[in-house]
Structure formats: C-alpha cells, structure tokens
Symmetry: C2
C-alpha cells in the first residue's frame, strides 16, 4: 500500500500538513505507523501515559482528524478508533468508504484495503455521503 502517510517521517508529514512540529504529534504519528491496527484514544493514552496529558492526546487526534491525516473507524462497542488515511484523502470533506474488520477475540480492528465497498441500495430521495462497513468476527491470528 503506497501511502505517504505510512512512509514519510512524522516531522515531514507535519510540515506537509502545516501543523507545528511537537513531541506529542510526532509520537502519535509514530504510533500510528508502528501498529498495523486502528488505535483508540485509550490505547494512545496508555502508550504515552507518562509523556503527555490525555487532553493533549485528545486534541492531537482532533487536529489530525480535521486535517485529514487520520480517519475515524466505527466500533461496535461504542468506542471510536482511528487510523492513518491513505494518500487519496484530501483534507476536509474527504470520504472514507472503507471496509474494516474487528476481531472479537483480540479486539483489534484492521482496514481491509482490498475489500471494496459494495453497492448498497438506498431510497432514491436519500443523499449518500459515506458508507462504512464493519465486519466483526475472528481474525486470522486468533483462529
């Protein structure tokens, strides 16, 4: 998967997105690049507990979200997870019609990059913005 976001260094990315280069941002970007599953705020808090305040992490995620570096991933337990966007995500109102898989055993959510969103039939007078598919089950590792 040829994603700038996953291959460029955090500092470089921040510059590209016109965000100030701060320790917290760099560390969070590193985490996203390090783990191959979607991260929750709680996970990052645990990961960076001794380095940054949870409000800072909260605001960093919010900022990354607004600037199109990461996107939200649905969760069937009310939580929200985040993952790096892929290249074709321009900031603002970009769409993330992805398929995600959540393993009920390990709890990890991964993006199924190869699975394309199928066509869903919607009433004619409805306007579709985004389609999110969350498949839950058991992942390869946990079987």
């Amino acid at each position: 998967m040829p994603s700038i976001l996953k291959e460029k260094g955090p500092e470089e990315l921040l510059k590209k997105y016109h965000l100030r280069n701060t320790d917290c941002r760099v560390k969070i970007l590193e985490s996203f690049q390090q783990f191959d599953f979607a991260l929750s705020q709680g996970f990052l808090e645990e990961e960076l507990k001794h380095s940054f305040d949870r409000v800072t992490i909260y605001r960093t995620l919010k900022s990354f979200l607004e600037n199109g570096l990461i996107h939200k991933i649905l969760d069937n337990e009310g939580g929200i997870k985040y993952a790096l966007c892929s290249d074709d995500c321009s900031g603002g109102d970009h769409h993330h019609s992805h398929v995600h898989f959540k393993c009920e055993v390990c709890g990890q959510t991964v993006c199924l990059e190869k699975s394309t969103i199928p066509d869903v039939k919607i009433p004619k007078n409805f306007l579709v913005d985004e389609v999110n598919v969350l498949v839950s089950g058991i992942c390869g590792k946990c079987r």
Copy 2:
C-alpha cells in the same frame, strides 16, 4: 414489515420473552414502538427523565439486548443506538446484518429494511460473524 415486536403490546412481549412486567420496561418498549428511528440511551433518559433512574434504563436496555428484543446500531460519533429486532431474531447469538442510514442533518438513524447486506470479500482465514453497514448522508425529510 410484519414484526411481532412492533405490533404486540409491551406486556405481551415481556411475557413472551420471560421478562418481568415492570413500568420501566413497558415504557421503553412503548418508546421503541412509537419512534421509527433508532433510540440512544440518552434519548430514552430524556424521554423518561422524571420516571426512572438512568441506571435502570441502562440495565433495561442491557436486558433487552441479551434477550434479543433489541439490537445495537453503530454510530459514527461513538454513540450506540438501539432498535427493536425483527421477528427472525432468536435470542442469544442472532445476527443483525442490517443496513442503517444516519442522517447528518437530523441525526436520526433508520433501518433500511429493504437493503440487503452486500457480499464483502474477507481474507480466507478470517471468520465472519456479523456485517454492519452504516450509510451516512441526508435523509428524504431533510433534503
């Protein structure tokens, strides 16, 4: 839609599901029958604020969920909503591979009963339990 859950009286339903007939349960079932969109715990709390404690509402929803009267509906803002199951939901490990539509204007989530879940391609070694599709956009009323 021929759903027992939507047509039978609350008391009758509770008996059918071997749940004790209490005021709170009746009122919550009535709410689900009354509104044609998915309800959040917060909505029910507001609705029944002066009648029941929020913990009671929380536990009632949990009980309905476990007994297969209602099912969870994903939300793209971290919340969870609930709706009455349709007939074919036996208790326990029943599946709810539904398509839901959330309107970004009015915030309401409805079940698109006619839209069937499309086939999503998943890696061979993964085990699929449930597929949730959340389409967001603008609903007919809000356009």
